[in-house]
Symmetry: C2
Subunit: 201 residues, 2 copies
């Protein structure tokens, strides 16, 4: 039983779908209208221009994607637990929204300055707590001496790349959707194990 969406919600859903897959330039207003089950004129009635509609989708995506990406880093829990928590929560999110990473990456590639101001990184230090935590762990001799940024880069790479590169991985390994999902579920534990094995002295 389907819940009847408002027209605005139908547009959001359709626009999200099309923009995720084709980007701003590749998307057609006609295509979005068709998918939403309305006509082009009504799209413009709700969102004036294509850019504004795109901007609305970007805003929505940013509001869910970046909190999930960064919220774990500054939590006040032990280092090892933090890595396990991150991969578990982040991969869960990516399984639900597999197209978002590629969308965000292209967004930043094509307009780094806009995204920079949108995120306001100067006001919100996203990893200050983690940087300090890693420093303490290194000094205590709990983990090897390595650039803290290499740790974060590695964890994010291991988690997010398989989703960005999923069409290629599916071709290379001849995977169907179910097999791919199973491999991603396994990574929730594989990734923290790998990272900790590396960091243990």
């Amino acid at each position: 039983m389907k819940i009847e969406l408002t027209t605005e919600e139908k547009i959001y859903e359709a626009a999200k779908e099309i923009f995720y897959r084709k980007g701003l330039d590749g998307a057609r207003m006609q295509e979005i209208a068709d998918l939403a089950g309305i006509n082009k004129a009504l799209l413009h009635y709700y969102f004036r221009t294509k850019e504004k509609l795109f901007g609305a989708i970007v805003k929505r995506v940013a509001e869910v994607f970046f909190p999930v990406l960064f919220s774990t880093w500054n939590m006040d829990i032990p280092f090892e637990a933090k890595i396990y928590t991150f991969t578990d929560k982040y991969i869960d999110f990516l399984i639900k929204h597999p197209f978002i990473p590629n969308f965000v990456i292209n967004l930043i590639h094509q307009n780094p300055d806009k995204v920079k101001s949108l995120l306001n990184f100067d006001k919100l230090p996203i990893s200050a707590q983690l940087e300090e935590q890693i420093r303490v762990e290194i000094e205590a001799g709990n983990i090897i001496d390595v650039d803290w940024r290499q740790i974060i880069i590695s964890i994010i790479s291991l988690s997010v790349f398989p989703f960005i590169g999923s069409p290629m991985l599916k071709i290379i390994f001849k995977l169907d959707d179910e097999e791919f999902l199973k491999i991603m579920e396994e990574r929730k534990l594989i990734i923290p194990k790998m990272v900790m094995a590396w960091l243990k002295p």
Copy 2:
């Protein structure tokens, strides 16, 4: 001292530059013509349509990218040496061509079937030798028992994602180009160390 390029080469260079950054839909023929120092009509004289020009660039990219990505996997050298060789060669390539991964990813996202037939994976098993090699290593007890695909996915993720996500990493860590490059150079050794630490029983 610059070598004078033929018109066709000037078009290739210009089109590559624009298509890498903006994709098929975002690129403008006028823009490519300007960058090549010619006019639009001459573009069409050489390559009939925008799609054909794009296809020519794709062909060129595929011819360098996939060999670099896959050639190491089936080499007849020990497992550990293979990982070190791969990260070294692959990251060298990515430093020289940082825009290619994102270009290829988007290509496959938007047209998986075309890329599939282009690559002809059925004829060229890209990882059969490596799969067997990992099986032998596991049976000999040299590495832990883990899905061989997880190993390859992890190594590729660790190597290629930082380049795909470089604009975001530069924002998060406030990196300039030089610092970013230094971190990538360090990864040539960090990645194999991490993977081997994980796989050692």
